[in-house]
Amino acid sequence: MSILTKPWLDDGKAFDQAPGDGGASLKTTRLGLFVFIGVATALFSLFATAYYMRMMLGGWQVLVEPWILWPNTAVLLIGSILMHWATRLGRRGDMVRARRMFMAGGVAGILFLLGQIMAWQQLIALGAYARVNPANAFFYLITGLHGLHLLGGLVAWGRGLRKSASGAAADKVTASMELCGTYWHFMLLVWLGLFLLLLVT
């Protein structure tokens, strides 16, 4: 780009670049979701950085991961696949089956959360309290925040379910499914990253 170009002058493309079709369309909401995913990524990366830096300091004992984290991971993965499937069925117009998959995907999210609570209980039963060992404290903190984020996703899922039950147009319902699906994939990725961090340290 030459220093002499003046992008504010009209080159005839201005109306294509800014067509003025704002409002809360799927495109807009999708962008909003991606910006939020960016914020959440910054948050979890900072936690991972803090975890890594704290690990090298005193009083750190290696955390023994509760076995239930493995089935939990599988459940979250299944939830993600179900959501993806729901969107694909919705796009094809098979709303009955799409809704069934969508519902199952959300239930998988709930099961994952219950599983995480059981993981906490297993740790507490072992006497692995937060104040004893910073590794424990990080575990509760990071899984807790990940759970809270998923809980927020479940609220959006509940609204999507209500929308589909109230007989909204198929494309609107599919849009909800797609957005929930994106968020589920993101939650899965975050969890895989965190789980990997826990396993290798």
Binding site: G12, G20, G23
Partner: protein, 602 residues
Amino acid sequence: MTDETAKDYDAEMHEPTHFFTKYIWSQDHKVIAVQYSITAMAIGLVALVLSWLMRLQLGFPGVFDFIDQEAYYQYVTMHGMIMVIYLLTAFFLGGFGNYLIPLMVGARDMVFPYLNMLSYWVYLLAVLVLVASFFVTGGPTGAGWTLYPPQSILPGTPGYDGGIILMLVSLIIFIVAFTMGGLNYVTTILQARARGMTLMRMPLSVWGIFVATFMGLLAFPALFVSGVMLLLDRVIGTSFFMPEIVSLGEPLAYGGGSPLLFQHLFWFFGHPEVYIVALPAFGIVSDLLSVHARKAIFGYRMMVWALLAIGVLSFIVWAHHMYVSGMDPAFGYFFAVTTLIIAVPTAIKVYNWTLTLWKADIHLTIPMMFAIAFILTFVFGGLTGLFLGNVVVDVPLSDTYFVVAHFHMVMGVAPILVVFGAIYHWYPKITGRMLHEGMGKVHFWVTFLGTYAIYFPMHYLGFVGVPRRYYDYEDIEFIPDSVADLNMAITIAALVVGAAQLMFIYNLVWSLIWGKKADSNPWKANSLEWQTPDTPPKHGNWGVEMPTVYRWAYDFSVPGAAEDYMPQNMPPQPFEAHRAAHPEEGPEEDKPGEDKPEEGGT
């Protein structure tokens, strides 16, 4: 317009009619902006009074019994925290961001109005939690606004009981509120611009708010992380940041944590925060200068890139706040270099503002006076930043009043001058009335000269070596008696400047009722917010027909134009088409591009 489009418009807008939904639980960005601004101003008044109390102790030590050491540290802490987060951040992004973004880019509202409303109410909750900390046992925290552990969460620091807990909770709530607002600002700017409003035609105010919001969305998570971890250290006794420590003769259960880890996280937020406050001010002041100097902003494209460059660079300079915490000299070198590099895009902006004024038709309106005062103050505060950015100079100066003078000039006074200028500029659009000019002039001169009377001498205090954060300076050998006199003078100036702000608030209320009626575009500005069919703009902003944008916001004093300004929605004029067809007749700069003949516009 046909009847059908009008009907569609009414149905789509469903403007709330009930008082409650119109002004309290409102989803209209203009109402939310005013709510944000009033709340920020109210809590800002608290911070103003705290600064008075602080100065009373420093100017007249021992005269006021109720200001003991604990109270003094609480005033210092809460003053800093409120001013940086709850006033400046909230005012620029929640207040101006909310009001200006949809109007300037030509949208009907934010893209997620419900989330926007929620953002305000959660912000209000954060403010209320903060205020509550004044009323709990032990009072608010006195840990300093940086809340460094270990002292911030140990007994002996004022506000150990409830104050620090409420402070951290309030910050966490604030971050949630900011994130909800920020998602809206970014998405609205990217998705809801009017037809023809390309990114490179947006007014610089929008650019400043846009970049600052992006930075906030990436930086506030660092404050969130450090806040949550500090809260856990305080409440359930984890050791994220707490080392092995003996407090009041007793070894505590903490061990192994690192206070430096907190400092890194805090300043990874804290430095971008400076620019989260400064960039909207940069953007807004560019528009004020251009409008009131009747001249295009100099180097628009460079201004945009400088904003982006500052935004990126500000994420890799944070450790210059930690030179005195001790660090590897190589790290110190790295951060000193990045800090000094930031001076380049910042200097570009300062030169461009100055060149905008050069040979311009300067109207010394009140917004213009504030804008010029901003340039002076910002350059002044910025230059002392060059001193402090160097490790060797910073180490002896870091704990003195030189730093207090520096950061108040550069990120306290300078942005607040822009806030004032912007209020005088946009008040006619928001309320339909002009602010009283006489009171405005008094407000300007007292604030501008007064802040110099306060902060200029502080540089000397710093050179003499007067330490900051001290409650009093009695019996300290190396501090000469003249310091006490200077402190007294500063205190008197601070009281006067504070009083001028009370008059400003009186002016805001007085002009709402008795102010001169404003027409829809009193400054003859180009940007879209001045082209609304109603003043103040109604719900939906634009009436039935959305604006179409044909040009940037800086077509002032264009040779050949009928008037000295051409609004962004003014279709291409015959003289422009003529000049485009005969480029040999006019200078290169005045050559407009080819425009499709489009209907709509004014």
